[in-house]
Symmetry: C2
Subunit: 435 residues, 2 copies
């Protein structure tokens, strides 16, 4: 329990410690995960008569939609990350604790962490997100990193940049070709953005920096198992995206799944083998192990089924939201997008606020789809709102403005905007760091 | 040899490979290390009739004078680093290879790398810098990281930030005090800058972000073995610095060396023991192992003795420069500062240019001291030029302008300037990332 593991009575030296300001009688809401869903829950609980304990393994909230720009040397990690405690510093009823949750006991209403701490809750909100999924081939993970965290992004950045470094000192044609081949698996927005961005690095950014190799001759493959890339977008935008990617030098392969993946490359259904030192994984996700913690059966992607109030079946105080939840009931399935996660977080925050105030529980959660966006590269993006479709430069402008708007903090917005303008003008990238 | 390990005849596919443009008959200059000294050598060889091979373990040049700002969450790694091959991309006679040198054979004139490559040279320039030195206690390194590389800086950043995170969930007074105590060993410019900057984080940046601890009550100790901090500066500037540090809450301890260092803290001469989870080392440096490679005897700090042309004794083609060199001859010893490294690099580059052009070897190297600078924190720095001494806000302005001026690249200058203005106004720091 928080009071046991983090006792309030250690405040022997008043200069050194503030009391937890909350009264002991207020219900405690424990939120696990400070991604889009968890953070939005905390914000929606602002002003509620509760104590909020926000737990996360990291000290920072990561703006995942721009992670691919860290992975491709356009932005620095800190440009897309923000300290969680800074974000909620104005909200007196929230305490942030950096902790790695490993178990939940719904009978005793306790969350346990790997560090050995335990936190009592009255309401629990699980918003622990998703991981890359390798279709029953977890051994592929070591060769084909996915893009979910800041650490993933810097690892991928190093992998891409080291490819060119190794090629420059390569001793055989085959070796050089292998280091200059990049395969992105999965044709969703992240895969499209990674492939387009690597093409840009090879075609423009690095072009004058090597003496023995010609970076423009790099081979960039985007492999999608389904019949078309960007399958959640209207067909014509998929076609446009495929054409634009092809124009900038990406080989788009559809309808062929990856059948094996190792240190030397990948094989595709139908037999094609691609020798490469750099495979990146954007093909699928699996929910965090929340289903295991709760002892419930997850769906195919490991997501926890929740009812129309985002509660687990039979419970009135355990919510699961964001990429970890599978919302049952009528209507379309809720996609694993940032706006969906935020909507769920807001709904649960307001729901709890109403209950503790003695009001009726709120109405059911209804997902409102705001649109799909994906950027292809310099000056080209596709945007599908409910009635509007945009592509090309206009799509790219809308995409840029939307992403800067949703970034947290004035500094991040300014620095990201400057980086983008600078890159647009100079064809350079500011974060070409192997570390 | 480069031609053996990276043969020119692999250019079977002209689209894929450029020929090395150099003629085979030009002398080859191999430079090891792309710090201030090595990079300046390469630049000074621009236009010379030589082929330059620039080797570095990293892909980036690091602007060490601002590393402490990465370590204290003010700047991102990429703000103080720049890809080496970008810096020399306009200089056709330079090829950059990322490689980790492990041996030099001066008889066969070959440099060997850990990756198994070897590079023939006609002229060799060793500019491999220095490491943190622990006064015959290498085991202290694991507890007290020094600040020499980007990786050191992000490790120190995590160490400082994790201290406050652990304190926030601490269960005993002693534990919390230990995590909120920070000891910087060594009162040179780096130590002063680290201590001042940690004080700023504790006093201003984090102040509203914690609920159980009060970051302002953190204990920050700067421990110097000598009689005063900033010993290379005029005495009155040392006094001013000590007073200013004390005013912002740093405990300055002089005249007492560290006698032991472990996971739980440090002990000082005279018996004082400080329990802390965060010791940072800025107390001394040791040259890179160039003396071993060359089979010569280094001085007390492991530096290679060189003559007035920066050549090792008895050689006419092996130069050692920067923090790795100990310049013999009349005059003051050359300090381990960026301007000194650059001056040596420029001298050697011009010397080789003259020799290959058939001109007389240049005159002896003479170091010109340009001044000493150190920043203490927000609005305060000390600057000692030959006839001018500055302190306080004016010193800080001069320090800021000088450092932005010497940064490489317009983007870095703009981003660093924006970060500083933003931090100055908001008391926030943009890179509070534990990763």
């Amino acid at each position: 329990m928080l009071r046991a593991s983090v006792p309030t009575n250690i405040a022997a030296n008043p200069a050194n410690h503030k009391q937890i300001t909350s009264g002991e009688t207020r219900p405690r809401v424990v939120i696990i995960g400070a991604g889009f869903a968890g953070l939005e829950t905390a914000r929606a609980l602002s002003g509620a008569e509760v104590d909020v304990v926000l737990l996360d393994r990291k000290n920072h909230h990561c703006f995942q939609p721009l992670l691919y720009q860290v992975a491709t040397a356009a932005l620095s990690p800190a440009d897309v990350a923000w300290p969680i405690r800074s974000i909620v510093s104005d909200q007196d009823n929230v305490i942030v604790i950096m902790a790695d949750v490993c178990a939940v006991d719904t009978t005793s209403k306790i969350v346990r962490t790997k560090e050995g701490d335990s936190f009592h809750y009255d309401y629990l909100v699980i918003a622990t997100g998703a991981y890359s999924s390798y279709f029953n081939h977890p051994e592929w993970a070591q060769y084909a990193p996915g893009l979910k965290t800041i650490e993933d992004a810097t690892r991928i950045r190093a992998k891409i940049l080291i490819g060119f470094e190794r090629a420059e000192k390569g001793t055989s044609e085959a070796e050089i070709q292998k280091f200059m081949t990049f395969v992105v698996v999965g044709g969703g927005p992240t895969g499209v953005e990674l492939a387009g961005s690597i093409a840009e690095i090879a075609r423009s950014v690095l072009v004058r920096d090597f003496r023995r190799i010609n970076p423009q001759s790099a081979r960039i493959v985007l492999a999608e198992a389904g019949p078309r890339i960007l399958s959640t977008f209207p067909t014509d935008l998929s076609d446009y995206t495929e054409k634009t990617l092809t124009d900038v030098g990406v080989e788009v392969i559809t309808g062929r799944a990856v059948t094996s993946c190792d240190e030397q490359g990948v094989s595709l259904a139908g037999g094609e083998r691609i020798e490469t030192a750099c495979v990146l994984w954007a093909a699928g996700v699996k929910a965090s192990p929340a289903a295991e913690w709760l002892g419930v059966e997850g769906d195919r992607a490991g997501r926890v089924p929740v009812n129309e109030f985002l509660l687990i079946p039979g419970s009135s105080n355990v919510f699961v939201i964001g990429d970890t939840a599978s919302v049952r009931g009528g209507g379309e399935p809720v996609p694993g997008l940032a706006p969906a996660a935020k909507q769920m977080g807001r709904h649960v925050g307001r729901h709890i606020t109403a209950i503790v105030a003695g009001a009726k529980p709120r109405q059911s959660f209804v997902y409102r789809h705001q649109g799909d966006l994906a950027t292809i590269g310099r000056k080209a993006a596709v945007v599908a709102f409910s009635r509007t479709k945009l592509r090309g430069f206009l799509g790219w402008l809308v995409w840029s403005v939307a992403h800067i708007y949703f970034l947290i903090g004035a500094r991040n917005r300014a620095v990201v905007a400057i980086n983008w303008v600078w890159e647009y003008i100079t064809f350079q990238r500011g974060a070409r760091l192997i570390s």
